[in-house]
């Protein structure tokens, strides 16, 4: 019993900073009703200098199509290790892709940007069709993309 309180205090001391470093963030991308095949959609992060930081999600399972996500391909080098474990199905016309994750707190209000590339078979490629800052100011505001994205919103 004597050891319980110190152990609990130590566990809390270790756990709290870890918890404080993560922030639950939701990304919502609603596609236009373009009526074609499922869209390949990739969300990735660049730093203040525009340097690729990492990928958040890849919607679309066939690696041979990834080269049509041109900006992501260029920035990431197209390495599939970048998207292991964070790859899902392509997104249908008019559908909304909602991604919730614990984002590293250090990325918020630090000049980082979210990029969205899209591509559709028999359609067009839209590299960086959405670019929004990861900032408290931009959070909650829906922006339209240049291609298939009707609206994109980050909330945290």
């Amino acid at each position: 019993m004597k050891m319980l309180l110190p152990t609990l205090a130590a566990a809390t001391a270790i756990a709290l900073p870890v918890m404080a470093q993560a922030r639950p963030v939701t990304f919502e991308a609603t596609l236009k009703p373009y009526g074609g095949n499922g869209a390949y959609v990739v969300l990735y992060v660049t730093d203040a200098a525009g340097k690729y930081k990492g990928t958040l999600w890849m919607a679309g399972g066939k690696a041979k199509y990834y080269r049509h996500l041109a900006d992501w391909q260029r920035a990431s080098g197209g390495a599939t290790t970048e998207i292991d474990g964070i790859t899902g199905a392509s997104v249908g016309s008019g559908k909304t892709l909602k991604i919730s994750l614990d984002l590293a707190d250090a990325l918020i209000d630090a000049g980082y940007e979210i990029h969205v590339d899209t591509a559709v078979e028999d359609g067009t490629d839209n590299p960086s069709e959405v670019v929004v800052p990861l900032s408290a100011k931009a959070a909650g505001t829906a922006v339209a993309g240049k291609g298939y994205v009707k609206s994109f919103k980050v909330t945290f």
């Binding site: 470093q21 993560a22 922030r23 992060v45 930081k53 990492g54 990928t55 958040l56 999600w57 890849m58 919607a59 399972g61 066939k62 690696a63 041979k64 199509y65 080269r67 049509h68 197209g78 390495a79 599939t80 290790t81 970048e82 998207i83 292991d84 474990g85 964070i86 790859t87 899902g88 199905a89 997104v91 249908g92 559908k95 909304t96 892709l97 909602k98 991604i99 919730s100 994750l101 614990d102 984002l103 590293a104 707190d105 990325l107 591509a119 078979e121 028999d122 359609g123 067009t124 490629d125």
Partner: protein
């Protein structure tokens, strides 16, 4: 009478020629095809392939870039031969260690 003999001779010769042809290119009991059949089928296949390519070319004119990829059997290759296909997203798949996923938990994804 001469006419009947001539007809009989023609019939006999035809039958003999047919027999010789069959003897030269026998159909094997195990189902393998004869050389003649192979040649005929090869011609037929060529015609089919040509027709198919013809249709494909015609179709390609009306298609966009992604169909160029239909010829790729190499999912995951980048032309340099070094890439492998990504693992399918699974609940227990680890997220990349890129510093973005603070909790190391996989993103929750929903398509509506």
């Amino acid at each position: 009478m001469t006419k009947s003999l001539r007809l009989g001779a023609i019939l006999l010769l035809s039958t003999t020629a047919l027999g010789v042809a069959i003897a030269v290119a026998p159909v094997h009991a195990d189902g393998r095809k004869t050389a003649g059949q192979d040649v005929a089928e090869a011609h037929e296949t060529s015609r089919l392939i040509f027709a198919s390519e013809s249709r494909s070319r015609h179709h390609d004119r009306n298609r966009r870039h992604h169909h160029d990829d239909d010829d790729d059997d190499d999912d995951g290759e980048d032309g340099r031969g070094g890439m492998r296909p990504p693992r399918a997203a699974a609940p227990d798949a680890p997220v990349p260690d890129n510093g973005l996923f603070s909790g190391k938990a996989r993103p929750k994804v929903d398509v509506q």
